[in-house]
């Protein structure tokens, strides 16, 4: 299997021009194996019981807003553009040939726009820290529990469980890599905005950029496949729905989340907890709406 694509530049110097498409196939195969593996592995485990939810603190509404409309719009636009990018990037290589370049770069521009919006939104209006808290202990516990069913279930999470946070971080890194390199690559193609210039950087710099873009691309095959897979798993439907409807019901809330870490009570604003001040921003509107 090849990892890189190399070529001799016009002066006969050996330069890197990108990742080998073998990696794309590897990612596809990898994804299939992981999903199948996970499905089988899950069957071998006893059904998860989270035990009876702790006595519900008072004032927890029937429907708890998990994703604001804005957040949902962001999520779906981003995923749409991401899917388009992946299809336009890899389908032609896999043999389905169509004029992909324009669609690809336009989808790229959309993605960039949504990401910019998301960052601003997350910092200004969402509970930024609820995503960026570290939670090492929680991580270890989750890992233990995954490895052996006998290990005690990890403590209930705040708004974003450990695995969600981890996935989010990986996506952030990978997409940013793809976005930055992709944006620079637009210098090399015809867009209405500028005349292209393949000589903006040296061969080797471009080569490195193509490699990063390619690696990010094939990683995204894996990540997106996994994400969709989990979203579709029956036991996760309630959460998938929350990305469509925006809310989860009290049962799932009490079953999966620690009210102490994700306070959704009217009084929540006053309660100090791991959610911290940030929690206000997120929790209070839902509370208000439930009035």
């Amino acid at each position: 299997m090849e990892f890189w694509r190399r070529a001799a530049n016009p002066w006969g110097q050996d330069v890197l021009i990108g990742v080998s498409w073998d990696l794309m196939w590897a990612a596809v195969v990898g994804a299939v194996i992981f999903l199948a593996g996970h499905a089988i592995w899950l069957r071998t485990r006893p059904a998860e019981s989270h035990g009876t939810p702790a006595a519900a603190p008072p004032g927890i509404p029937e429907r708890i807003e998990r994703h604001s409309l804005a957040a949902r719009i962001f999520h779906w636009t981003m995923s749409a553009s991401m899917l388009v990018l992946l299809v336009t990037a890899f389908a032609p290589v896999m043999g389905w040939q169509f004029p992909w370049v324009t669609i690809h770069w336009i989808a790229g521009v959309v993605l960039i726009a949504t990401v910019v919006y998301h960052v601003i939104h997350a910092i200004g209006w969402q509970d930024f820290w609820s995503m960026f808290q570290l939670g090492v202990g929680e991580g270890i516990a989750t890992l233990r529990h995954v490895l052996s069913p006998k290990a005690p279930a990890p403590p209930k999470a705040g708004k974003y469980p450990f695995d969600h946070r981890m996935y989010h971080h990986v996506i952030v890194v990978v997409s940013l890599a793809a976005i930055v390199t992709g944006a620079l690559m637009m210098v090399r193609i015809d867009t209405p905005f500028w005349t292209r210039n393949p000589y903006l950087f040296s061969d080797s710099v471009w080569g490195a950029m193509y490699v990063v873009h390619g690696l990010a691309g094939v990683s995204l095959i894996l990540l997106v496949a996994a994400h969709i897979y989990f979203a579709l798993r029956p036991e996760k439907h309630w959460m998938t729905w929350s990305m469509i409807r925006g809310w989860i019901d009290r049962e799932h809330y009490l079953e999966h989340f620690d009210p102490a870490k994700w306070d959704v009570t009217e009084a929540g604003g006053g309660v100090s907890g791991a959610g911290g001040a940030g929690a206000l921003a997120d929790a209070s509107p839902s509370a208000r709406r439930d009035d």
Binding site: P10, W11, G12, Q13, Y199
Partner: protein, 795 residues
């Protein structure tokens, strides 16, 4: 009465071999155990070789050895070596590999790991002239013998003017002025100022510069493709620093050179050195792709021209600035261009400035009419533009400005032996029917517009002081030994005619000996600058006179009476004492020895002639002499070209419909061959004016027009199927035969006739750049963006 040889059509003696495939060009020779060399060419326009690892290549079965730059002669400064670790253009040979067959050699070259350090490079000379611009050499962009390397730039002010489209007033390393140009311009009724770009173009002779060599002891046997023969032997000897007499130099045929193989080629050293190293004959088969790089090219000009005219159309002042694109090893076209501008338009007031800039493009060399062809094709349309604006007939304009016999030109007021340019113009006007044709100027047929133009082009056409060497053998035949090359001008045979005529021999009794130094060659010219016909009709005439005198003396000595009383004709010498055949005379000469059979040689013959004469001594009656005819002034020949074109305004395509070329080159020796020179040279000029050019990618500094179809030399369908020519035929008084050379001048005439005709078809608009390809013409006509005003190497 002796058969008339001068002025008749006689097929050259080598023609039979040429048309039956027997003629052997360098690549047709074979030697037992011959192996093949291949060159590794630089992939970069300017670089330094950091590391070469040939272990894998040398380990290949069939690979014999490698030849590196440190094993071949090299000199400091901008001087070319046959191999180098410091390549100054893409395609410069770095090293050579020899193998049992070419395929193995090629595979070996590919197996060599070589690492280059890229260096800054210059493709367009103006870049190197700009403040802070790059240099073609690490050491600088100018070189002089005394001061070595330096950096030469024009000022920001100069470039401000240039970029604004004006004519700068820059300092230049080369500058001369005569008269008072500024005062003269003030008096001019019309002053034209133009920016002109003349492209660089490759020679591309049909035969690439392949060659083969082997050694027997200390003797080198070299089989080379070269324009000259004897002088190339000396060039090779000095390059290899060896005794010329230890070289057996074979160059029976040359598949074209046009200035690119004058005294051989640099690459001819490779097989010579390599075969010595490995002790086996080495054939270096140069491919067209390689020829494109190492095969030489005409230097391009970027130029500013100011011409002043009096009301009657007489040019009274010229201010000319030339930036020459000189490649890595220089060229001197610009100097000739200045001289010829002054000679052709006789302004009396002229300022000439030039700078030759080293560039990292393949090496430049004289190309048929070097300098002259460029400047004529550039300036004639300006002259005709002036005619239009002053309302003077263009033929009259050319006649008015053409030089008379008393012309003094150039910085040192050089003179001419003879000039009949005006007669050439008049004969041409008659043959072309100028009045009728000029009436067609501007005629429209649908989108096609007719244009007519005239190009008058001079060039040097002779030299003196060479030696002639010939022998009448006992078989009664005259053996004329020629040291000049055989590049297709037929001069090896034609320059022998005067001698044969003097001796009253029929052409069947004349044997031409050429192309092999072991057969004995007299001191000869390099076959360049159209010297040969002039120089060697004189030299052979002198040797013929010597032979004639000796024949009479031998006859007198044998049969009694005074030598002067003996007449030589029809292979016999007869006089008071009776008659004897020249064969018998030859036998007697051998018996008499001394100066008669060459055992005693004239004092004044050149040292290069002596070994040949000594080798031939005792084999017959020897005619050997130096050309002592002397004569003052420069020898120039002229061609006046007349063209009629149709320009299609919808496609920019120019179709040449009629062409007439008239030459003033003195006495006509071989009419059919002269016609071939006049028309062939003119067509080369047409290719220069219309299609041929280099193209370089500015980012990578590599040429793209590296195939014949991209370099675009003219083919059969690019010229009308019938072209006309004639010669004025007035003998040059300073030479006994009256003949001058013809090789160079037609090129400028053919080119200028077309650049003028195209300008005429465009209503007098001069594009002032060549080649005039459809894209450039159409862009101009349609007012679309074309190539930049001063861009070199585009298209």
């Amino acid at each position: 009465m002796a058969e008339k040889l001068v002025g008749t059509d006689i097929a050259p003696p080598d023609l039979h071999a040429k048309i039956t495939g027997r003629a052997r060009y360098a690549e047709d020779f074979r030697a037992p155990g011959m192996v093949f060399a291949k060159l590794l060419l630089s992939p970069m326009p300017h670089a330094r070789v950091r590391r070469v690892d040939a272990r894998r290549a040398l380990a290949m079965p069939g690979v014999i050895d490698i030849l590196r730059a440190d094993e071949v002669p090299s000199r400091d400064g901008p001087r070319e070596a046959c191999l180098t670790d410091y390549p100054r253009y893409e395609g410069e040979p770095i090293l050579a590999v020899a193998a049992v067959d070419e395929e193995t050699a090629a595979a070996a070259i590919e197996a060599i790991e070589i690492d280059f350090e890229p260096l800054p490079f210059v493709i367009d000379p103006l870049d190197s002239l700009r403040p802070g611009g790059p240099n073609a050499y690490v050491e600088g962009n100018q070189f002089s013998g005394q001061d070595g390397w330096s950096e030469f730039r024009w000022t920001a002010e100069d470039f401000a003017v240039i970029d604004a489209g004006g004519m700068p007033d820059p300092s230049c390393p080369v500058e001369w002025t005569k008269g008072d140009p500024d005062a003269a311009f003030a008096e001019s009724a019309l002053v034209l100022e133009e920016t002109i770009v003349h492209q660089s173009l490759t020679h591309h002779p049909m035969e690439p510069r392949s060659n083969m060599a082997y050694w027997e002891g200390d003797r080198l046997f070299a089989f080379v493709s070269t324009q000259s023969t004897q002088q190339t032997k000396f060039a090779l000897a000095s390059a290899l620093d060896m005794d010329p007499e230890n070289i057996t130099f074979v160059a029976e045929f040359c598949g074209g050179g046009f200035g690119s193989k004058i005294s051989g080629t640099t690459v001819m050293q490779v097989p010579a050195i390599f075969s010595k190293k490995i002790g086996r004959p080495v054939m270096l088969r140069v491919t067209r792709y390689e020829e494109n790089y190492i095969g030489r090219a005409r230097p391009g000009f970027q130029s500013w021209l100011k011409m002043g005219f009096l009301p009657n159309g007489k040019c009274n002042a010229i201010d000319l600035i030339i930036v020459q694109e000189s490649g890595p090893y220089g060229a001197s076209d610009y100097a000739t261009a200045g001289m010829i501008a002054d000679l052709t338009y006789t302004p009396q007031n002229m300022r000439f400035r030039a700078v030759d800039m080293f560039t990292n493009t393949p090496p430049k060399a004289a190309q048929r009419g070097p300098g002259g062809a460029q400047i004529i094709s550039m300036m004639e349309p300006i002259l005709e533009k002036a005619a239009r604006e002053l309302g003077v007939d263009r033929l009259e304009m050319h006649r008015l400005n053409a030089p008379r016999g008393d012309v003094k030109f150039g910085p040192r007021d050089s003179t001419l032996t003879s000039v009949h340019a005006i007669e050439a113009l008049e004969r041409g006007a008659e043959m072309f029917d100028w009045p009728a044709k000029v009436a067609l100027s501007g005629r429209r047929d649908g989108s096609r517009v007719t244009g007519v133009g005239i190009g008058l082009s001079p060039y040097t056409a002779g030299s003196r002081d060479r030696d002639g060497l010939m022998i009448i053998r006992p078989d009664g035949k005259l053996y004329v030994h020629q040291g000049i090359g055989n590049l297709g001008t037929h001069s090896i045979a034609d320059t022998a005619r005067p001698a044969a005529e003097l001796l009253g021999l029929s052409w069947d009794d004349v044997v031409i000996v050429w192309g092999d130094s072991s057969k004995g060659m007299p001191r000869s010219t390099v076959q360049a600058g159209s010297q040969t016909t002039h120089a060697h009709t004189r030299a052979n005439h002198a040797a013929g006179m010597d032979a004639l005198q000796k024949v009479r003396e031998v006859a007198a000595a044998t049969m009694g009476g005074a030598p002067s009383a003996y007449r030589v004709d029809g292979g016999r010498v007869s006089g008071p004492g009776g008659t004897m055949t020249l064969g018998r005379v030859a036998e007697r000469a051998i018996q008499m020895g001394g100066r008669y059979d060459g055992h005693v040689l004239p004092e004044d013959i050149h040292e290069q002639t002596i070994p040949a004469a000594q080798m031939l001594a005792g084999q017959g009656l020897m005619g050997v002499a130096r050309d002592n005819y002397g004569g003052e002034g420069n020898v120039y020949s002229w061609v006046a070209g007349f063209a009629l074109v149709e320009l299609d305004e919808e496609t920019g395509v120019v179709a040449l419909k009629e062409y007439v070329g008239i030459t003033d080159c003195g006495t006509v020796i071989h009419p059919r061959s002269l016609g071939a020179q006049v028309l062939g040279g003119s067509i080369q000029g047409m290719g220069m004016a219309m299609t041929q050019r280099w193209v370089f990618d500015p980012k990578w500094g590599v040429p793209f027009a590296n195939r014949l179809y991209t370099a675009r030399p003219p083919g059969m369908l690019d010229v009308p199927p019938d072209l006309k020519w004639d010669a004025v035929g007035i003998a040059d008084p300073t030479t006994p035969v009256g003949a001058k050379g013809i090789g160079e001048p037609p090129v400028g005439a053919g080119a200028a006739a077309l650049t003028c005709a195209v300008a005429d078809a465009m209503g007098g608009r001069c594009l002032c750049r060549t080649p005039l390809t459809p894209d450039i013409i159409l862009a101009e006509l349609e007012g679309r963006t074309g190539v930049g005003r001063l861009e070199q190497h585009v298209g």
